[in-house]
């Protein structure tokens, strides 16, 4: 009899068909990696027959994930077949409740039309415009942090900066901006995670969010066009016939996709600096290395653990027979650790070759629209960090989000050293 003492042991011996990498517990405890390693080696296209989300396929190798991501004709993101996350309750109505249709959950041609309405918000001239504001806020936030004293990086840096950015993008009333954080968090939550007591409570808060945004929409529609996302949606001919649910869905996409994610990267970067102080020292000595540090933070953290598709037809993929209607999950968190593509993938190495070659933004027509804006925020943050500190020390256990989708932190207690 072998006494198993660690998750790594269990991951090695558990029968393949019992592996279920969707369990949120694995993400809370950050113990999913040994399971992904086993799947990449022994069953890179793996069927899990039973889970809290029903049966699903796991795609765990980098190149296979690229192939699925690129093949939107067979692997659909459309809301009508289930949308793009494994948990069907996130974007689809629960017990007749709210649905959140948006262009990430659409296939072409409708997808392209909707995406092109909002993509101008991150055009180069807009990014230039944002940089000064981002820099000024980042300086102000960092200058307010204590040196040598414990505080929560997630709360005081990651949430603070990303919420301000989101408020700017939406031209959302600045003093109310923490409501954006709340709404973002409850979209991807379930009652058992502690943020809401019931599905009804989640529904009620999402309705408040809908009503609030509808008010801003009406106001912006009557006013001349401005360069903020709500005004863009309100004035776009393509979105004229957009219903209230689709409008809310689009905003939710931008709130979660553009906020929660950058937040995770800002926190993950701090943890990486703690675990790999030589990398921080390297960047401090040579600021040009920031250009690699930013994408490496995004790869190493992998803010979105997976994206899901639904097979529109039977297809044989890497020797496995996927059936029409099957859920297919691309585990970006696994692909970014694929040794066939990334050398020493568990390590944070800011000057690795091909540092920009990672899965965190996805590939293909749904590739992250906001990726330049995310990188801009991260670059400014870590440029200012390098100016000020020699060390970021994590002084307690990080608390992680209990989610197989959002790979982030609830809290990260740190102490800064000048």
């Amino acid at each position: 009899m072998t006494i198993l003492s660690t998750d790594a042991d269990l991951a090695r011996v558990i029968p393949l068909d019992k592996i279920d990498v969707s369990a949120p517990d694995l993400y809370v405890r950050d113990t999913v990696h040994p399971y992904f390693a086993r799947l990449r080696k022994e069953a890179p296209v793996h069927y899990c027959p039973e889970s809290a989300y029903g049966p699903y396929w796991s795609i765990t190798k980098f190149q296979d994930i690229v192939a699925v991501d690129m093949n939107h004709k067979v692997f659909s993101s459309d809301a009508s077949v289930g949308s793009f996350v494994l948990d069907d309750t996130t974007l689809n109505p629960v017990d007749g409740g709210i649905s959140l249709p948006n262009f990430l959950g659409m296939d072409p041609p409708k997808h392209d039309i909707h995406r092109m309405v909002v993509s101008p918000i991150v055009a180069p001239q807009n990014l230039l415009r944002f940089e000064a504001t981002i820099r000024e806020r980042t300086k102000r936030v960092l200058d307010s942090l204590p040196i040598g004293e414990e505080f929560d990086w997630v709360e005081r840096v990651s949430i603070e900066l990303t919420t301000m950015m989101l408020a700017t993008l939406l031209d959302f009333p600045f003093e109310e901006r923490r409501r954006l954080t709340r709404w973002s968090d409850i979209v991807t939550t379930r009652p058992e995670y502690g943020l809401v007591d019931s599905w009804e409570q989640r529904e009620k808060e999402l309705m408040e969010c809908a009503v609030y945004f509808q008010g801003l929409f009406e106001e912006r529609k009557k006013a001349p066009p401005k360069p903020d996302l709500i005004s863009m949606l309100a004035h776009s001919p393509a979105m004229q016939n957009m219903g209230a649910e689709e409008f809310l869905g689009t905003l939710v996409l931008l709130i979660v996709g553009g906020n929660d994610t950058t937040r995770s990267s800002m926190s993950g970067g701090a943890l990486a600096c703690h675990l790999y102080p030589a990398e921080l020292a390297k960047a401090k000595a040579n600021r040009a290395l920031i250009s690699g540090m930013v994408p490496e933070i995004v790869r190493w953290q992998t803010p979105i653990s997976h994206m899901r598709r639904t097979a529109l037809a039977d297809i044989e993929f890497q020797g496995q027979k996927i059936r029409k209607g099957d859920k297919v999950v691309m585990w970006y968190l696994s692909g970014n650790r694929d040794e066939d593509v990334v050398n020493k993938p568990m390590d944070f190495i800011i000057d690795r070759p091909n540092v920009r070659h990672h899965l965190s933004f996805g590939f293909g027509i749904h590739r992250c629209l906001g990726n330049r804006l995310a990188e801009l925020q991260l670059r400014v943050l870590y440029e200012e960090v390098l100016e000020r500190y020699t060390r970021i020390e994590v002084v307690g256990e990080p608390v992680r989000v209990p989610s197989n989708l959002i790979h982030g932190f609830i809290s990260l207690p740190v102490r800064l050293h000048a």
């Binding site: 690229v66 055009a123 180069p124 091909n354 933004f361 590939f363």
Partner: protein
Amino acid sequence: MAKITYISSTGEEYVVNVDNGLTAMKGAVDNSVPGIDGDCGGQAACGTCHVYVDPAWVEKIGPIHSSIEAEMLALIDGYAPNSRLSCQINISDDLDGLVLRMPAGQH
């Protein structure tokens, strides 16, 4: 081998000799030409190697031949009739003297 001139959005010129069999994207990335990223490694999957082919070369380069490249290009702001993904431009002696312009905002 072909001599390729890459011109940035602010007019800087970078002249590079690129071996046959490589792509115009590889030629840029391997020679540190700024403004072309190639995040996906050249699979027409990310759109970050977008270039404008100089009008004198459009016919020589030929039409877009994959639906994947067409799809990715269509989603790019600033997409123009002479837009191509440089990872889909294969270098040969025929392309000696090729001129490509980079869009603003790609690294």
